[in-house]
Amino acid sequence: MATESISVGRHRRGYYLYLIPGFVGLFLIVIGPQIANFVLSFTAWKGVGTPRWVGMQNYQRLLTDDQFWGSMHNTLLYMISMTAVPVLIGLVLASLLFDYVRDQFSERLSSFFRAAFYLPQILPLTVAGVLWGWILSPVGVANALLGMVGLGAYTQNWIGDATYALPAVSLVIVWVQVGYCLVVFMAGLSRIDPALYEAAQLDGAGWWQRLVSITVPMLAPEIFVVCLTTLIAALKVFAPIFVLTQGGPDDATLAPSYLTYFHFFTTQRVGYAAAVSTVQMILTLGLAVIFLLFQQRQAERGV
């Protein structure tokens, strides 16, 4: 496939014009405020009145703030629940619904399942939080169900116990995220030439084999997009923690975004919050750059 642009030389420059709205928006809404935020991180400010310059003080605090390091550590765990698990489940489910169910049952059943699995994405997280709170509370539905099937010994204080809180919140996160991965993957599947699947079937390949050798490589662009976006979302995760545990118990589920929210709006230590979010932003940036470079190298190797 030819890689030259269809327009040569001076024609190319005209395309830059199309970038103007995007860039204006970017500067006004993203870059400008980020710079302001960066400047704020060197001040002590309560949100009203004039900020007071304090130099590196906020960053020094950060280094010894247990909450900050705890939240960073939790982020690694959130990456699993927001990225790895939903992507894997999404892939398997998408392939199952698209390949197996559509074939063995009907297109309509497949669509029905897809719609149903996507529904958690539509629910406002504040509402999901309340509902899951009812389920996960120690006197809630989850424990009641465990009791009913005879697994009463496993009932736990899901949200209140520091050991189980993060997994519990992760469960809710997975519940919400799978739908997004599923839909994007299924949409991508419909562009794969079915002849490939037919050929594989004729060769005797089972559903799993087809998944691994055809689906995954062909879905590479979608997988990259989903992985990158969910990874970034993992670094920014806020709403589930806000509604379920408020960072607790005892900071077990704390994430950087919640920490910054806490300091921006509750303790009103805006300068400190700005410092934490600057660090968070830099980390996200670093990760994204690494990921994008990786994707580019994969693309160069030939998709």
Binding site: V48, V139, H263
Partner: protein, 420 residues
């Protein structure tokens, strides 16, 4: 929604050109966030109706706000042109104190005497209305007025107590004895939302039983590093109760909704929480008789005057705002409030027919009379609410010993105290 804004700007400009700001005096914007069904909500709506009737030429615009919104962006709103003429605001250093110290509010010192509020309120009820230049309560000009009270007490199941032969406790020993009796009968005596407000309120209620005047003043005023003794006692008592089975291990994960449910469904006969439950309990508990008793204490209980009515600096109708406050403080509406189940300070006791309101107002008056309002435990430090919740959970789960608990909360407190 650009067009209406432009139109409004044009009209205002025109009015200004006309030499008078007539267009603006004719509207009165008021916000509050108490629920429409709460005692306050009902009373305030009625009072607003009377205000409307008294000023037919003024357009009264009421907006029902949410606590979340004002808590989060309150100072942002007050710092803009979108602030109303009068609004309900959360009392305390971190909220009312902050915006007062930034010059965003109207000083009410003159109105206090001019409008006759000094005949109705005493200094004790003004403690949370005053904030100094640093935004710390207790001294300084009057920046807001509260028209109701709130406190934390023990709600109890009257029928369950009668059946178990337990009398209402008047000392802490009697309280633990009562718990013992229930435990012996196989009932978990105390419902507790360990992950939430009722957890820290119980802790504070216990701590306050060991608090003296100096301690409370220092604690609330952020005047000195934390003296952890009262809290140590409370933490030890709590772990003791947990060990004896008076509270369930599940409490750590329960929030107030769950705990309240444990009480209202009859599982536990006692629930320690605040007067904000009165509306829900009155409306929905149909299975048993219930009442309240104050947690036995020498002087201090968790409680305070209610949220404040504040008048933003840029209010276009401060006179009407002050008139509204007067209405709410009047005997007529204080009685009305008590009859709606609310906690009033100036009701005519003879005219109050609602037993819930009568009782609540009486209890509040009793606590206030001995200057026993210890305020809330999370006030001194912004964000302390979350800290207390978290450490409380740790304590109940056993990951923190009472000593460690006190150390942790002391660390945060001392930090804030030093960096004032």
């Amino acid at each position: 929604m650009r067009l209406p804004r432009l139109a409004l700007a044009a009209v205002s400009a025109f009015a200004l050109l006309g030499g008078t700001a007539l267009a603006q005096d004719k509207t009165f914007n008021i916000w509050w966030f108490e629920g429409a069904d709460s005692a306050q909500g009902i009373t305030w709506t009625k009072a607003l109706e009377e205000l409307k009737a008294a000023h037919p030429d003024v357009t009264v615009n009421f907006e029902q706000k949410t606590f979340d919104q004002l808590q989060q962006s309150g100072s942002m709103i007050l710092n803009s042109a979108e602030a109303p003429d009068i609004l309900e605001y959360n009392k305390g250093n971190a909220t009312a104190g902050l915006v007062a110290s930034q010059g965003l509010l109207t000083n009410l010192d003159d109105a206090y005497t001019a409008m006759g509020w000094d005949k109705i309120l005493n200094e004790g009820q003004l403690v949370l209305s005053r904030y100094n230049e640093l935004g710390v309560y207790g001294s300084g000009p009057i920046w807001g007025i509260s028209t109701y009270g709130e406190y934390v007490s023990a709600f109890y199941n009257i029928d369950a107590f009668e059946k178990a032969g337990v009398k209402v406790p008047t000392t802490l020993e009697e309280l633990t004895a009562a718990f013992d009796t229930f435990k012996a009968q196989g009932v978990t005596p105390l419902a507790l939302g360990g992950a939430s407000t009722s957890g820290q309120h119980l802790l504070a209620s216990l701590a306050y039983t060991k608090a003296d005047d100096t301690w409370v003043q220092n604690y609330q005023g952020l005047k000195a590093p934390l003296d952890g003794a009262p809290y140590l006692y409370a933490a030890q008592t709590l772990t003791d109760w947990l060990a004896k089975g008076y509270i369930t291990k599940d409490s750590t994960g329960m929030n107030d909704d769950d705990a309240s449910l444990q009480f209202t469904s009859g599982k536990s006969p006692v629930y320690v929480s605040g007067t904000w439950n009165l509306g829900n309990f009155s409306a929905n508990i149909k299975d048993f008789k219930w009442g309240q008793f104050v947690i036995p204490t020498p002087k201090y209980s968790v409680g305070s005057t209610g949220n404040l009515w504040i008048i933003p600096k840029g209010s276009k109708n401060p006179e009407l705002a002050k008139e509204f406050i007067s209405l709410l403080l009047s005997e007529k509406y204080q009685t009305e409030q008590a009859n709606n189940g609310g906690v009033s300070f100036a009701a005519d006791a003879a005219k109050v027919t609602n037993p819930v309101g009568a009782n609540a107002s009486a209890v509040f008056a009793e606590i206030a009379a001995k200057q026993g309002l210890g305020f809330y435990p999370d006030w001194p430090v912004p964000g302390y609410y979350d800290v207390l919740n978290q450490k409380d959970t740790g304590l109940l789960q056993g990951t923190l010993t009472p000593e460690q608990f006190v150390d942790e909360i002391k660390k945060v407190y001392d930090d804030a105290q030093a960096s004032q």
